[in-house]
């Protein structure tokens, strides 16, 4: 009798162990993102003061992916996004437009924009609008180069934003949210907590209240943007932040905002501020 109850106890504790392992599989613990065996990136950081009461720790989306996917990002050769980064660097040096200039004519090496990605989105030079990196690039193209603006999520645009992001790899995400940007940040926060679509889901419903849980067959992350533009295995190309936002809003069965819209730029700022403290991953690999 005594023996039997002990056996049940053991069985029960094994079961408890197993179930807790399943529930807390995400974010993966004890994982360190070392790129090319030399650069250690921050994938887990204490949440900033803005997030008090919402999150204690912020996690890169990479920690919610399978080990195979994580390994791809640890080596530039196996990171499929790097092919596009090479194309972005070619575009960086390519003369375009009526003024006979390339990006490199003014900015020299892409490394000169090392700090750019971590600070995006940012108030524009005149201080009356919030600009994403795409806005800055198109501003350069139309006003300085005499070239045509690129579409927000075009191949050229994502490969150039990727090249700039890789230059800023390892920098700590820290967008400016005070001053003129404060208004945008508030607007972004409001959007983050507003329920959209027939499914009536807000960003927070999934990415704040249920990260680490499953959504259908997928693992919910915190929805951080530090790995963007990201190479997604599902479409085998680079994806912009706004493109990803659009996908998320669409999945709530809502009419989405447009890429580059004021709403998405405000949301980009707010989401970026939620990821403050994480490293820019250059091109992340996600599924």
């Amino acid at each position: 009798m005594h023996l039997r109850s002990r056996r049940i106890l053991i069985a029960a504790s094994v079961f408890a162990l197993m179930s807790s392992a399943t529930a807390y599989a995400d974010p993966v613990e004890g994982f360190e993102l070392v790129v090319n065996g030399e650069m250690t990136l921050v994938t887990e950081a204490p949440a900033s003061a803005n997030l008090e009461g919402a999150l204690d720790t912020v996690y890169s989306g990479l920690l919610f992916r399978e080990s195979e996917t994580r390994e791809m990002e640890m080596d530039d050769f196996s990171n499929p996004g790097m092919v596009f980064v090479d194309q972005g660097l070619d575009l960086w040096n390519k003369v375009d437009g009526t003024d006979g200039k390339s990006c490199a004519s003014c900015h020299d090496d892409v490394e000169s924009l090392k700090e750019t990605r971590a600070a995006m989105p940012k108030m524009n030079p005149t201080g009356d609008d919030l600009w994403s990196m795409e806005n800055y690039i198109n501003n350069c193209r139309t006003t300085k180069m005499g070239a045509e603006a690129w579409k927000w999520s075009s191949d050229q645009m994502t490969s150039v934003t990727a090249a700039i992001s890789v230059a800023g790899r390892g920098e700590v995400v820290n967008p400016k949210v005070d001053g003129a940007a404060a208004e945008w940040w508030e607007k972004g926060k409001e959007l983050y907590y507003t329920r959209f679509g027939q499914l009536e889901l807000s960003c927070a419903n999934c990415h704040e209240q249920n990260y680490g849980n499953m959504i259908r067959a997928d693992h919910l992350s915190q929805g951080q943007t530090n790995g963007f533009p990201a190479y997604r295995l599902k479409n085998a190309k680079l994806n912009s932040i706004h493109n990803r936002f659009k996908g998320c809003v669409r999945d709530t069965r809502a009419e989405t905002f447009g890429e580059g819209s004021a709403e998405f730029r405000a949301l980009e700022l707010y989401v970026a501020s939620r990821g403050a403290g994480l490293s820019v991953e250059g091109v992340g690999v996600r599924n």
Binding site: F77, P80, V83, Q87, D90, A236
Partner: protein, 109 residues
């Protein structure tokens, strides 16, 4: 000629005699299968890399015939046993007659 074709190869700088090393190769290429229809309803003509060869000091290591079902940016990873120092020569053959080449040396440690 397919645009943006760029071969990339990863070979360790040195290896001990008799060591088995892993080589990785990747070439950016659209690998158009010839079975898709374009916006005008006509078939997009086939344009793929149809053969990949790796030689070491003139001796063949691997010779791959490639078919249209292989996806964009074909990636090959294979192991080679290193006995002497030397040079790897990688060659990709395009449908349009272009040949892309890359060379990497490896020394004995």
């Amino acid at each position: 000629m397919a645009s943006d074709v760029k071969p990339r190869v990863k070979v360790p700088k040195s290896a001990a005699a008799g060591e088995i090393v892993t080589l990785k190769t990747l070439i950016s290429h659209p690998m158009e299968s010839g079975q898709r229809k374009g916006g005008d309803g006509n078939l997009v003509p086939r344009s793929i890399i149809n053969r990949f060869v790796c030689d070491y000091n003139g001796a063949n290591v691997i010779d791959v015939k490639m078919e249209p079902a292989i996806s964009t940016n074909p990636y090959f990873e294979f192991d080679v046993k290193i006995e002497t120092a030397g040079e790897f020569a990688f060659t990709w053959y395009d449908d349009d007659g272009s040949v892309y080449e890359e060379k990497k040396s490896i020394s004995l440690s």
